[in-house]
Amino acid sequence: MAQKITISPVTRVEGHGKVTIHLNDEGEVTQSRFHIVEFRGFERFVQGRPYWEAPVLVQRLCGICPVSHHLGAAKAMDVIVGAGTGDGLTPTGEKMRRLMHYGQILQSHALHFFHLASPDLLLGIDADPAVRNVIGLVTSPDYRDLAVQGVMMRKYGQEIIEATAGKKIHGTGAIPGGINKNLSVEERDRFLKGEDPLNADTMISWAEAAVTLFREYHKKHRDMVDHFSKFPSNHLSLVGKDGALDLYHGKLRAVDAEGNKLLDDVDYQHYLDHIAEEVRSWTYMKFPYLTKLGNEKGWYRVGPLARLNTCDFIPTPKAQQAFEVYKAYTNGKPNDMCMHTHWARLIESLFAAESIKELLEDSDLQGEDRVKKGTRQNEGIGLIEAPRGTLFHHYRINASDQIEMANLIVSTTHNNQPMNEAIHIVAKAQMNGRGKITEPMMNAVEVAIRAYDPCLSCATHALGKMPLEITLFDHRDRLIDRKVR
């Protein structure tokens, strides 16, 4: 008999969502959908507020990577105050923001890999849920040190954010046209040469060790890592002007599954010429796509996997070395293996740790020329590579300095279609021909979602944790089974 399965809530991700899976009379999966069931509407209630409030106000969307929204909005406001489109700031302004951003990348990636994803990999997808979590790692003699490293990497990143933004969460450092503080020599020395483990060199060596850990895991679990939820797609991200991995500023680039460039050297101020969003009735999250390919074929992935597919190289030595090994595995072609997102994420963590050290050694961070302003503009777009992927902030300001329009396209929204694809593939693999839902089946679906490190609150500009619901319906939409967690 045909069925519909609902997984609700999805766990160990940020926000609240559910999955529905439809099966036909033969018990084969015919449709899988990832629904985001929360809504907050930041785009609406920033309207009417003064534009300089945007970087502080909009970051309240999220408590995990608020720095991305803070910087995304600040970059848009740089355009508004006439400070150019991302590369017109003073060296102190830009480098302080970069330091803030890489501090965040380090802490968010550490949070995702060590706290949220690694329990699935290290303890097993089908391990008892009671121990399949970060506490399970801490209490395991094999993984205790690793879990502590994850916690300390997160702490180091958070303290970088505090030193640049004023607070670990929801700071005020980035202001239109620059930054409101520089880095003191004492702060610099603490991050560079602080007591172990909280110094730049330890972070680099731990990030390097995490890449090695994943590679070792890969060797032992090649089949799962390479084939779990693998599917071809387009990929989109910022890249530096020279094609380097750059998470703060650059041009838009998109490649197809074969690595052919679909977009290149695109100024993101013109993103609307290249990207559109589709609304579907069953979810609050929109579906962006490349306009030149249309909504059927134009969807793409963003995030660590996409970034390492679009960039030509990584501008720090150890991360570049890791990148070369990573690229060699697919013979230089785009990587479409879902679980390799974790590998890419760890290479980015290494890049972030190395970038932090480079920035700390730069005396521009102690500069006093922090803000630049020029001719006031009425419209500005800020783009940044958030930990989870490409983040657009677009604002229009009226003559009275009020925000008239805001449009945010966050990473999880870009990954909407890919997550739906991933769920469908895993659901087919796990549930075809089986009417009864088991806990490992549900977790396998979540593992596919988790690889994208989604932030569902950001995606709908909504509030909350992410519980998961799975429901099973028959072909007449009759509820067969439902699991809520």
Binding site: R49, V56, R60, A165, G166, H170, N180, D401
Partner: protein, 231 residues
């Protein structure tokens, strides 16, 4: 030197010039009485009632009452502190005070008093009034969501002829501060900054500027309100 009055605050013997307002006399004796509308050197108004003390058994505002010989003043006692706390809570629920995104956060006297009195959730229901933001003046923005009608701007900001640039408009719950249109041009850059600085909350903010003081260096980041007298 003029005549000196001797009085007590919470049993502590104090002295101040005869005729001083209680709030000023307390300050001279390193005793803090909270206030949101009082400005040193400007005739008092008694608008906010936060400085209410009990004198010889009667409640009165310390910014408008003068000290006399032999006065027994109660200030930092549980009953009065709870009254003050309730006044601050009323100010919060009566407007739309969203501290996390307010430019004045960390420099705001209302917020600082809320911390002093450990306000977590107000005892009164939020009113969520619909109020606008006035963007009409080229130098300042008036966010009526945050205004507590203390009248500081009205009393302090005067043009070179001594005329009030700010005034109240409407009455009761609809009362708003506004800039006299005939005198709007007289609000110079210097006076605009003074209006921003004198506003105890974030109701008057400078156009095009925000969050320029980093967290950690704002007025109340490290020193709670009143601590300058109490330390």
């Amino acid at each position: 030197m003029g005549k000196v009055s001797t009085f007590t605050i919470d049993g502590v013997k104090c002295m101040a010039g005869e005729g001083s307002y209680i709030v000023d006399a307390a300050r001279q004796n390193n005793i803090y009485i909270p206030t949101l509308c009082d400005v040193q050197g400007v005739p008092p108004k008694g608008a906010c009632r936060t400085c209410t003390v009990r004198v010889n058994g009667k409640l009165m505002t310390s910014c408008t009452s003068r000290v006399h010989d032999g006065m027994e003043i109660e200030n930092n006692v549980p009953e009065l502190n709870d009254l003050r706390k309730s006044i601050i809570e009323m100010l919060f629920v009566e407007g739309n005070h969203l501290c996390p995104t307010c430019e004045k956060s960390g420099n705001c006297e209302l917020q600082a008093l809320a911390y002093r009195y450990a306000i977590t959730v107000p005892r009164y229901p939020f009113l969520f009034p619909r109020r606008n933001i006035d963007f009409t003046h080229p130098r300042i923005i008036k966010d009526h969501n945050r205004c507590i009608l203390c009248k500081r701007c009205i009393r302090v900001i005067k043009d070179k002829d001594g005329k009030n640039i700010f005034a109240f408009l409407n009455r009761g719950f609809k009362t708003r501060i506004y800039v006299d249109p005939d005198l709007a041009e007289n609000l110079t850059e210097e006076l605009a900054q003074k209006a921003v600085d004198i506003c105890p909350v974030g109701a008057i903010i400078k156009r095009g500027q925000g969050f320029e003081t980093p967290i950690g260096r704002r007025k109340y980041d490290k020193h709670p309100i009143g601590s300058e007298l109490e330390e």
